[in-house]
């Protein structure tokens, strides 16, 4: 009966309107579901915004949440994806104590760690080095663990940027919606 909780990615395409973020988040709040990460951006169609939300919940609840999101008047389309159905990246920045590395003489080991985790140096100052890592959540946290011995001064991670594995064309979808609507209108006025 009780389904296991899993991490899901919800992708929603919306009109670019004030307050829409609030409309979406209250759907989660009301059901006591936590949003793990949230990214919004423009998308390939002008005037359309894209929300990428990750949440850990049961599939049944996730399906219902997506239906509630899609029900919002200004949401064009919302879809639910399991972990293996998306290609995604997250970006992390780590601020490392450069003085400690210098004092300990561990710079070579430090560089090897970055190489091992496929991370790069984004900028370097006298007091700190900023490391940048692009990847999946688990890799990002593995690197965080590995960097701890160099003293992590600050860590920040983005939400998820994700694409589905199907070849959906939003522009075409919008055109089809428009055509259906126009047909309905003609039907309604009996032309």
């Amino acid at each position: 009966m009780n389904q296991p909780k899993k991490l899901f990615t919800i992708i929603a395409f919306t009109e670019n309107r004030i307050g829409l973020l609030n409309r979406i988040t209250i759907i989660f709040t009301r059901r006591h579901i936590n949003i793990e990460s949230l990214t919004t951006s423009e998308c390939e169609v002008e005037g359309v915004h894209r929300f990428t939300i990750t949440t850990r919940t049961t599939e049944e609840r996730a399906v219902k949440v997506v239906k509630q999101i899609e029900k919002l008047v200004e949401v064009i389309k919302a879809s639910l994806h399991a972990e293996d159905e998306t290609i995604y990246q997250e970006l992390a920045l780590y601020k490392i104590d450069a003085l400690k590395i210098a004092a300990d003489g561990t710079f070579t080991a430090f560089l090897n760690t970055l190489k091992k985790y496929n991370a790069g140096i984004q900028s370097a100052e006298k007091e700190y080095i900023i490391v940048q890592k692009l990847g999946r959540r688990v890799e990002i946290f593995m690197l965080l663990d590995a960097l701890k011995e160099y003293h992590v001064l600050e860590f920040a991670k983005s939400g998820r940027v994700a694409m589905t594995r199907s070849a959906n064309d939003l522009d075409q979808y919008l055109r089809e919606m428009e055509a259906t609507r126009a047909a309905e209108e003609i039907e309604a006025i009996g032309v």
Partner: protein
């Protein structure tokens, strides 16, 4: 489909010209065919009220006594007319007082456009006098809301608001207009909204689902139809009746579905849910195919979901996709407007009869009659029971009056014993259960259908939540009939305390005022009765009276409403006593 849809040959009523935002608000309402609006003025909405002054011949404004009264009146208006109800209030407290009614309209799918004034746009977010974030507050309880900060945005925002409120699954929309947008000028031109690209209010049924549903119904041995509010909203009463008569399937109604199908029809088996009829609840767990039309399997209907209709294959006709599979997983889902779906199904279903199956409902009726109804309908010697009153009103009005109920025991008694046979004549607060709903909603209903008898049946608790609206009745001479069923208790809570909290009557007894003096203070003819012998004459007097009438009926103090499905129990375990 939606009523009040934009006409084919749309003719603009207001010639294009320059006007203030405030006048544009009025022009928009007239363009949408609004002729009645319920409201209360205040600082931030004063420019619009100034415009009302010039349009009194075209737009009737009803001055209520509290903004909650305005929104409930708009709901009552919308519910009996299927038109969009409109109410208006000022910013801050005016706006927050609307919220209960908006939440009520949202859960009961009632089309409303609620207009609120807002402080000037330069003051937004400064905690200015009477500033409140009504957009933020109303977001979870509106279908859509929008803040207008520029006069030139008014026509498009109103067109969209009316379109969203009435299309698809209807609901409340709120427009918040800053004071500067009301004062500033615009070139007014009105284009009705006919569609929004991100919004698809009319999903079409799929032929495969129609065939699958028809085949289930055609081969069912014990088919059963549950009818909900959706049939009324889609104005599909005729289509529904034809469908029922062709298939010969017994019909039970939800609270909100009452009056979608005549209670005296041979295929009507009763009312569903927590205080519904015995047969309709018990047979839910014996039917093999259940067709749910425009209802949402609310917990008050289903009882414990884990033991609800598990044996049945469910067909769910529902316009809102988020309702499909929300509570009950259907075998076949038809995501469409009720009328469209019924018309699509009609040619595929066989003409059948289900005599033995219907007899099973009748056997249940006999049990319920013996154990409950007989007792309820017998007029005792010394005291009056709620059912005595309702049953008599039902007979005396032939089930055709618009009956507006509040929330609690009296509401359940009306739902059980008023034999609705009219057209959309049941108005009640179903989903939200808002005490105080009935009096203002009855006022709204009377304005929508002035030639129909409108009877508000209210308990002594709920009445005291909005009794200030007697003032509105007084001022407008609104001919509503008010029947106050007074047991000096918050009866339903008392019943629960008796049954589930060891009779610990915690704050449910009421020391009531002299209601007759109150009614008379508002210039309303009033009468109080306590003895069963007075009942018939008092009801006759009330019904014969022209204009508003207040009848207080003192009823048995500790009456309980049965049958009852206790919270968490299965519909099969409904208690008769």
């Amino acid at each position: 489909m939606s009523t009040q849809a934009p006409q084919t040959a749309y003719k603009m009523k207001t010639p294009p010209r320059t006007m203030t935002g405030a006048e544009a608000v009025v022009a928009c309402l007239l363009e949408e065919g609004v002729d009645t609006i319920f409201g209360y003025p205040g600082g931030a909405i004063m420019p619009v009220y100034d415009a009302f002054y010039d349009y009194q011949d075209h737009l009737k404004h009803i001055l209520v006594r509290h903004e909650q009264g305005a929104v409930h009146a708009a709901q009552g208006y919308a519910r009996v007319s299927n038109r969009v109800g409109v109410c208006i209030a000022t910013s801050g407290p005016g706006a927050t007082n609307l919220i209960t009614g908006i939440a009520d309209a949202q859960i009961d799918s009632t089309p409303l456009v609620c207009i609120t004034g807002q402080v000037g746009s330069h003051l937004l977010g400064t905690d200015a006098f009477q500033e409140t974030d009504v957009i933020g507050i109303s977001m979870p309880v509106t279908k859509w809301n929008y803040q207008i900060t520029k006069a030139e945005d008014i026509p498009a925002a109103f067109a969209k608001a009316f379109y969203i409120a009435r299309s698809g699954r209807p609901g409340p929309v709120l427009l918040d207009i800053t004071k500067d947008a009301q004062f500033n000028k615009l070139d007014f031109k009105y284009e009705p909204c006919t569609g929004i690209r991100s919004y698809a209010p009319y999903p079409k049924s799929r032929p495969d689902d129609i065939i699958a549903a028809a085949s289930l119904l055609n081969s069912a041995k014990k088919p059963y139809i549950l009818v909900g509010h959706g049939v009324l909203i889609s104005e599909a009463q005729e289509e529904f009746r034809a469908f029922v008569e062709k298939t010969g399937i017994p019909v039970a109604s939800t609270l909100m579905g009452l009056s979608a199908f005549p209670c005296d029809h041979p295929l009507y088996v009763g009312y569903l849910g927590m205080h519904g009829n015995y047969g309709p609840n018990v047979k839910t767990n014996q039917a093999d195919v259940i067709l749910a039309v425009g209802m949402r399997f609310d917990d008050r209907v289903t009882g414990n979901l884990a033991s609800y209709a598990k044996q049945a294959k469910v067909i769910h006709i529902e316009i809102d996709p988020s309702e499909i599979g929300k509570n009950v997983k259907p075998e076949v889902a038809i995501n469409a407007d009720a009328k469209e779906a019924l018309l699509a199904l009609m040619p595929h279903v066989h003409e059948r009869t289900h005599t033995a199956w219907i007899q099973e409902f009748k056997d249940c009726d006999a049990i319920e009659h013996e154990k409950v109804i007989k007792r309820e309908f017998t007029l005792p010697e010394n005291s009056i029971k709620m059912a005595n009153v309702v049953e008599r009103i039902s007979r005396k009005t032939s089930g055709e009056a618009i009956v507006v109920t509040d929330v609690g025991q009296h509401q359940m008694v009306v739902s059980r014993y008023y034999a609705f046979r009219g057209h959309e004549n049941n108005v009640t607060s179903g989903g939200l259960g808002t005490m105080g709903f009935a009096l203002p909603a009855a006022i709204g209903a009377k304005f929508a259908r002035p030639n129909d008898e409108v009877i508000a049946v209210i308990g002594d608790g709920g009445f005291q939540m909005t009794l200030q609206e007697l003032g509105t009745i007084f001022q407008e001479e609104t001919g509503v009939k008010i029947v106050l069923l007074n047991n000096n208790f918050l009866g339903m809570v008392r019943q629960w305390q008796q049954l589930f909290f060891d009779r610990r009557y915690s704050f449910v007894e009421m020391k009531n005022p002299n209601f007759i003096k109150i009614a008379e203070g508002f210039g309303i003819t009033a009468r109080k009765i306590e003895h069963p012998s007075e009942l018939d004459a008092a009801l006759d007097e009330m019904l014969a009276h022209k204009g508003p009438y207040f009848l207080e009926v003192v009823v048995e103090r500790e009456e309980n409403v049965f049958p009852m499905v206790p919270t968490g129990a299965s519909v099969a375990d409904i208690r008769l006593e």
